[in-house]
């Protein structure tokens, strides 16, 4: 599903984001990526959605070699990967419903399909009752769930979350992780970048630890190894 072969990313002039990194993530896996600040986690996430291009190596997603993906093909890739970034916010002037519908509108989906999909994904994240609220009228966790709902509208095979719980308390963090687990149980691959020891340890899933742009540990049922 996701295959990286000897990938390096150098930010000009000579900052190494990733060094000679190889990885293989199978369909349906729930993978946590951990590592100290600057280890290259966000760089990895950006490479997966073609926001950045690798300096060396190849990246394949679902059999599609995106190493040198053309600019006009990027939207197609983005519709196959649900993205949840920490600074990837909601539009404050739109309601929950409109924020989610937006992702379908800009992909040229029909009104009928929008009315089909939006209630469905809002239900998955448990916000169908709050569809007509504005983001300011929601808790941080609820807002992040709207972002997750929005990332689900194209039925992505992969969900990529970069520190989705970064600003949340324990309760809200648990809610988000529960939603991610639920989505994983439907068959989507989930890649979760996190700093949260409790979350990683409670998941009992595969954990990949990065340091200085390299994989230093990859355990099938891993624990959070780093000192915190």
């Amino acid at each position: 599903m996701i295959v990286l072969k000897r990938v390096s990313k150098v930010y000009p002039p000579d900052v190494h984001g990733l060094r000679d990194l190889s990885l293989h993530i199978k369909p349906g896996e729930f993978v946590s990526i951990v590592g100290t600040s600057g280890a290259g986690k966000t760089t990895l996430a950006k490479l997966l959605i073609a926001e950045e291009r690798p300096t060396r190596g190849t990246i394949e997603i679902g059999g599609w070699d995106i190493t040198n993906i053309k600019q006009r093909e990027v939207p197609l890739l983005r519709r196959q990967i649900g993205v949840i970034f920490q600074d990837f916010k909601l539009l404050q002037k739109k309601t929950v419903w409109e924020n989610v519908a937006f992702a379908l509108e800009v992909a040229g989906e029909t009104r009928r399909r929008i009315y089909d999909v939006v209630p469905h994904v809002l239900k998955i994240v448990g916000l169908d009752q709050k569809a007509h609220r504005f983001p300011q009228q929601l808790s941080g966790g609820e807002q992040q769930r709207v972002v997750i709902a929005r990332s689900l509208v194209h039925r992505p095979k992969i969900l990529l979350a970069d520190e989705p719980t970064g600003n949340l308390d324990t309760m809200n963090t648990r809610e988000i992780i529960d939603v991610l687990k639920k989505i994983n149980s439907f068959g989507s691959t989930v890649v979760l970048v996190t700093h949260n020891r409790e979350v990683v340890n409670a998941l009992r899933q595969r954990v990949i630890t990065l340091a200085e742009g390299r994989v230093i540990s990859d355990q099938a049922e891993g624990k959070y190894l780093l000192p915190s």
């Binding site: 600019q71 993205v83 800009v106 992909a107 194209h154």
Partner: protein, 306 residues
Amino acid sequence: MMIITSTGRIIAFAWKNFTRNAWIGLATIVVLVLSTLSVNILLGVNAVSDSALHRLEDKIDVSVYFLPETPPVILDSARAYMASLPQTKEIDLLSSDQALNDFKERHKNDPKILTALGELDKNPLGASIIIKAKTTADYPFLVEALQNPQFANYVESKTYDDNAAAIQRVQQISQSARYFGIMLIAIFTIFSILIVYNSIRIAIYTQREELGIMRLVGAGTAFVRLPLILSGVLQAILALLITALIVMTAIAFLDPKLRSLFDGGDSGLQGYFLINAWPLIGIQSAAIILLVALSSWAAAGKYLKK
């Protein structure tokens, strides 16, 4: 189906952009109006100064005074010869009788002059011809042509020598006024382009969050770019309408005032804009819309890269 949905939605997005960012849009519109207006003001000033110069040029002529005893055949041949030259625009022959009548008419309230005139037994005034050239640059040639031996001996005097300096000055002024006007218009156009481009960049910058989200959720390029370009074009059209209204009002107001400065003659202001209405509207609309569309396209591109 997909195309229709998308087209409709792009237009709807453009309209939303246009209305929701009304304040920033207003700034863009004001900049557009000021830029177009400044170019039009320069065009108008150019037109008026042009017609003022034309009027000055029009007042220039060469009068040739013949000796009173010049035979009519010589006068006629002189007139025919000068009229045949391609540089001649207009030629008038004033016979000595007409000259006398004119003179009497002019001094009819001056009995002293009239009695003095009555004491002469012969008409002291000779005939004259008044020549207007097609352009001021043609006068030296016409003056040269007056040296024709067929009639040169009968010429008493010419006014050209008195006018030569004035003619040259008018020529110089009109040349440099035209160059200056064109240069000013060019400079203003360049400034306008820079200002418009930057104001559009700022307007789009305020929407960067929404554009970033569009990109990450997989919006096609058209969905990011076209609404911005379309709402820019809407602003341009609005700005053009406002400019047209201001220009028309200004002409209606200024033209009569200028007429009095021109002794009731045409100031050239209204005429210039009327004669050139379609090219002016066409070129300015095309230029502004193209400028706005290209600026929006370029500014939006920043949010599409990577």
